[in-house]
Amino acid sequence: MPPTIPTPHSFTLTIDGQDVTATVGQSILQVANEHHVEIPTLCYLDGLSVWGGCRLCMVQIVGQARLVAACATAATEDMQVVTQSPQLHDYRQTILQMLFAERNHICSICVANGHCELQSWGQKLGVDHIDLPYRYPDLDVDSSHPRFRLDHNRCILCTRCVRVCDEIEGAHTLDVMGRGIQNMIIHDLNEPWGDSTTCTSCGKCVHVCPTGALSEKGTSVAEMVKRRQFLPYLTVMREAK
C-alpha cells in the first residue's frame, strides 16, 4: 500500500464579512494575504518564523474579548475576522507613532527614504504628526563592517535580521541585548560588526531590514533599495528538497 497523502483540509471563515477559504495551519494573516486583504505588518516576513512583536497586525475576532495578532493566530473554521475598525486604526497609528518617537527617524536624510516600510505604513495609515513624547535617545552607528552599516537610530527592533541570520543563513551572528526600552541589536557578544568572526557577510540582514537601520555602505539618501526575492526562493527550495 502506498502511503496515503492526506489532502490539506480546507474550511471557510469570513474576513471583513467576505467568505474566504483557508487550509488547516494557516494563520489569519496568510489567509488575508491570499485573498488580497491588506493587514499592516512590520516584524512579519514571509519565509521567517513568526515573531508577533510589532502588533500592527492586530485584528478583532467576533466573540473574543481580546484582539489577536493576525500573524500568530491560526485561522479556524467559521471564525469572523475584522481587520478594519476605528479602534484598530487608532491602535495602529499609535504603534507607528511609538516607533517614530522611540528613536531618531529622520526620513529626509535616510538612505531608505522612499523604500522604508515604517515610512510607507505611516503614509498609508495617515500618520502625519506625532502626539507622543519624543525620546531622542543617544545611539551609535556601527560602520565597522567593510560593506554594511548598522544605524541604531533607525532600528525598530523587528528582529527580522536576527531571524534571517539564524534561520536562513545559519550564522546567528545577530541577537538582541538588554530589556525593554534598552533593547539593542548586537553582533556576537556585543562586538563591532567588523570584528565578528561568525558573520559571513552574506548581506541577508541588510535586505530584510524594513528601514534604513541596516544598509550597504556607499548608498546615499533614498538609494538603499532592499531586495528580498531571495527569501521566498530559498525557503521554497529548502522545502522542496
Binding site: 512583536g53 502588533r55 516607533l99 525620546r135 538588554g178 530589556r179
Partner: protein, 542 residues
C-alpha cells in the same frame, strides 16, 4: 519500597522522638527571621539548654515562617504555647528558665488578636510547626499520605475530579480554574508531558511563595507529584527565583530526601508511576514568571513570551503538553486530595474557594504573612488583622496585585476579597502582595513607582509595552515634577488603553493598571500636578 505502612513507621518514629522531650522551642529560620539574626538566637538557646542541663528534655527546632515577619526573629514554645518576637540571643536564658513556668511577658506576642485568630491555614498549616529540612516532620504531619493513597486507590481522573470539585483557582495571578487546566493537559495528545511549578515570584513586596518553599517544601513536591499522576506527566521542573538561596537549598534537600524515600523517581509507591523533578534557577527577570517566557527560559533560550494560543497545556515545554501552576496552587493540592474537594470548597465565596496567602506590608501595624479565607473584606484585613495604620497616619488606599494591580480607596474597603470583586474595582487579586498607603503618599508617585518597574522589566519584544511603558514613565515624571500639561493627561490615558489592548503578554496588558486605578480614584492629584496648579503632594491645603 515506600508504602503507607512505611510512612506510618516514619511518622511514628518522628512523633516518638518529639514526645521524648517535654518541651520544644521552635525558631523560625525562614529568610525574614534569618535576616533578623534568628540563627544566633537558635545557637544561644541550644547553649543555654546545655548550661541548664536540659538538652535531652527540650528540643530546639528550626522551623519555617510563623507569620508576624515584622517582629522577627520569632520563636514559639510548645507545649507552653508561647509565641515570642524580636528575640535576641541575650533573651535565651530567660526563655529557657521560663519553660516550665509562665511565658516571658516582655517578649510575648499576643496570639488572641485578630491577626492570628482570623487566619485559616491550609497552605501554611505546617509552616512554623515543622522542620522544613526534615521529611520525617512532614510525614509526621500526615505528609505524602494523600499521594500514596491516590497512587494505589484512585485513578488519575478521580484525582482531577477532586480538584475540579474543590473550585481551586490558580494562585499565580490570573485565577484560572486549576481543575480545568489539569483536564486539558490530561486530555492533550502526547506521550511525554511535563509539570512545572512556577516559583519565580517577581512582584515587588511579595514573599508568599518564598515562605511556602522555605517552610514546607515537601508540600509543594507532593502537590506536583499528584499533578503529574493526574495529567500523566513523568518529568517536572521547579523554576525558582535565583534570588531565593534559602528556598533553593531547602528544595534541594527536600528533593534528595523524597528521592531517597522512594517518593520521587521510578515506581513510586510500588506502582507503575514514575516522576522526577529538576530544579531550574530563574533568569532574574520579572517576565520569566510569565508562563511562555518561563518555558523558553527552561529550554535554554531568552525568557521572552510568545503569543498564546497555543497554550502550554497543549504546546508547552519542548513542544509537549505542559501543566504549569504556581507554588501556592500546588501547596493546596495534597489537602484537597486528602480531605476532599467539598471540604475545600466549603471555604470562600461562590467563585473563589479556599484561602489566600497575603503579604501585608506598607503603612500597617502588623505586617507579615497571613492566610485568610476568600471573601474576607479588605477592611478586616487592613484594620482588624493588620491593626490599621501606625499612629498619626491616615488610610488612603491599599494596593493589591503588585505592578499588575491597582489602588483601592477607602470607599471599597468592604469589598470581599475574591477574584471578581477586586477586578471590578480596577485591581486584581494577583499573587498576594498587599501594600497599605497612607495619606502622606502622592498617588502619582505610587503609579510612577510601578510604571518604572514595568518599564525596566518589559522584555522589549512588543512595541506597545516596550515603548509605551517608557513613554508613560516620561509622562508620569512630568506629573511628579509638576511640569505636565492637560494634553499630557490625555496622552497618558490614551497610552494606557493602547498598551493594555495591544501588548503581547500579561506584563504589558496589565502595566497600565496602577495608572488607571489611581486616575479613577485620585484624579485630582494628577490635575493638581498640571503645570502651575495646586500642590504636588496631595495634601489638602492647610
Amino acid at each position: 519500597m515506600v508504602s503507607l505502612d512505611r510512612l506510618d513507621k516514619i511518622a511514628h518514629k518522628a512523633r516518638e522522638s518529639q514526645r521524648a522531650c517535654d518541651h520544644s522551642v521552635n525558631v523560625c529560620t525562614a529568610a525574614a527571621c534569618q535576616s533578623a539574626q534568628s540563627q544566633p538566637v537558635l545557637n544561644a538557646l541550644k547553649q543555654e539548654l546545655k548550661n541548664a542541663g536540659l538538652e535531652s528534655r527540650c528540643a530546639v527546632r528550626s522551623v519555617g515562617c510563623m507569620g508576624p515577619c515584622a517582629q522577627g526573629p520569632c520563636i514559639s514554645v510548645e507545649p507552653q504555647g508561647a509565641l515570642y518576637g524580636k528575640v535576641r540571643p541575650e533573651d535565651a536564658a530567660e526563655v529557657v528558665a521560663s519553660l516550665s513556668t509562665t511565658p516571658v511577658e516582655r517578649l510575648a506576642i499576643n496570639t488572641s488578636t485578630p491577626f492570628f485568630q482570623r487566619q485559616t491555614k491550609i497552605v501554611l498549616a505546617n509552616s512554623g510547626r515543622i522542620d522544613p529540612e526534615k521529611i520525617e516532620d512532614y510525614v509526621a504531619a500526615n505528609g505524602y499520605r494523600a499521594l500514596l493513597t491516590a497512587l494505589t486507590e484512585r485513578t488519575p481522573a478521580e484525582v482531577i475530579q477532586e480538584v475540579v470539585k474543590s473550585g481551586l483557582r490558580g494562585r499565580g495571578g490570573a485565577g484560572y480554574p486549576t481543575g480545568l487546566k489539569w483536564n486539558t493537559v490530561a486530555k492533550a495528545a502526547g506521550s511525554q508531558k511535563y509539570v512545572i511549578c512556577n516559583a519565580d515570584e517577581g512582584d515587588p513586596g511579595a514573599f508568599m511563595d518564598r515562605a511556602v518553599l522555605e517552610s514546607d517544601p515537601h508540600r509543594v513536591l507532593e502537590g506536583m507529584t499528584l499533578a503529574a499522576y493526574a495529567v500523566g506527566a513523568t518529568r517536572g521542573y521547579i523554576y525558582v527565583r535565583a534570588e531565593y538561596p534559602l528556598a533553593i537549598e531547602r528544595l534541594r534537600a527536600a528533593l534528595r530526601q523524597a528521592a531517597r524515600q522512594g517518593l520521587l523517581g521510578q515506581r513510586i509507591g510500588d506502582t507503575e508511576f514514575n516522576f522526577d523533578i529538576e530544579l531550574r534557577l530563574g533568569g532574574g527577570a520579572f517576565v520569566c514568571g510569565e508562563e511562555t517566557a518561563l518555558i523558553a527560559s527552561i529550554e535554554g533560550r531568552r525568557g521572552l513570551p510568545r503569543p498564546r494560543p497555543p497554550f502550554p497545556a497543549n504546546y508547552g515545554l519542548f513542544g509537549c503538553p505542559t501543566l504549569i501552576n504556581n507554588v501556592e496552587t500546588f501547596a493546596n493540592i495534597a489537602p484537597i486530595v486528602d480531605q476532599g474537594g467539598d471540604w475545600f470548597a466549603s471555604r470562600g465565596t461562590e467563585k473563589s474557594k479556599g484561602t489566600k496567602v497575603f503579604a501585608l506590608a506598607g503603612q500597617i501595624v502588623n505586617g507579615g504573612l497571613i492566610e485568610v479565607p476568600m471573601g474576607i473584606t479588605l477592611r478586616e484585613i487592613v484594620f482588624d488583622m493588620g491593626g490599621g495604620l501606625p499612629t498619626g497616619k491616615k488610610f488612603k488606599a491599599v494596593q493589591t496585585g503588585g505592578p499588575s494591580g491597582g489602588c483601592i480607596p477607602e470607599a471599597h474597603l468592604d469589598l470581599p476579597v475574591d477574584y471578581e470583586s477586586l477586578r471590578a474595582v480596577g485591581s486584581i487579586m494577583g499573587s498576594g502582595g498587599m501594600i497599605v498607603i497612607d495619606d502622606g503618599q502622592n498617588m502619582v508617585d505610587v503609579a510612577r513607582y510601578f510604571m518604572d518597574f514595568c518599564m525596566c522589566e518589559s522584555c522589549g519584544k512588543c512595541v506597545p509595552c516596550r515603548v509605551g511603558t517608557a513613554m508613560m514613565q516620561d509622562l508620569l515624571n512630568r506629573f511628579c515634577g509638576r511640569q505636565a500639561t492637560s494634553r499630557d493627561l490625555a496622552t497618558l490615558r490614551h497610552l494606557c488603553e493602547v498598551v493594555r489592548e495591544a501588548s503581547l503578554c500579561g506584563l504589558g496588558q496589565s502595566a497600565p493598571n496602577p495608572v488607571l486605578s489611581t486616575l479613577q480614584y485620585f484624579e485630582q492629584e494628577y490635575l493638581d500636578a498640571i503645570l502651575g496648579k495646586g500642590r504636588s503632594n496631595g495634601h489638602a491645603s492647610p
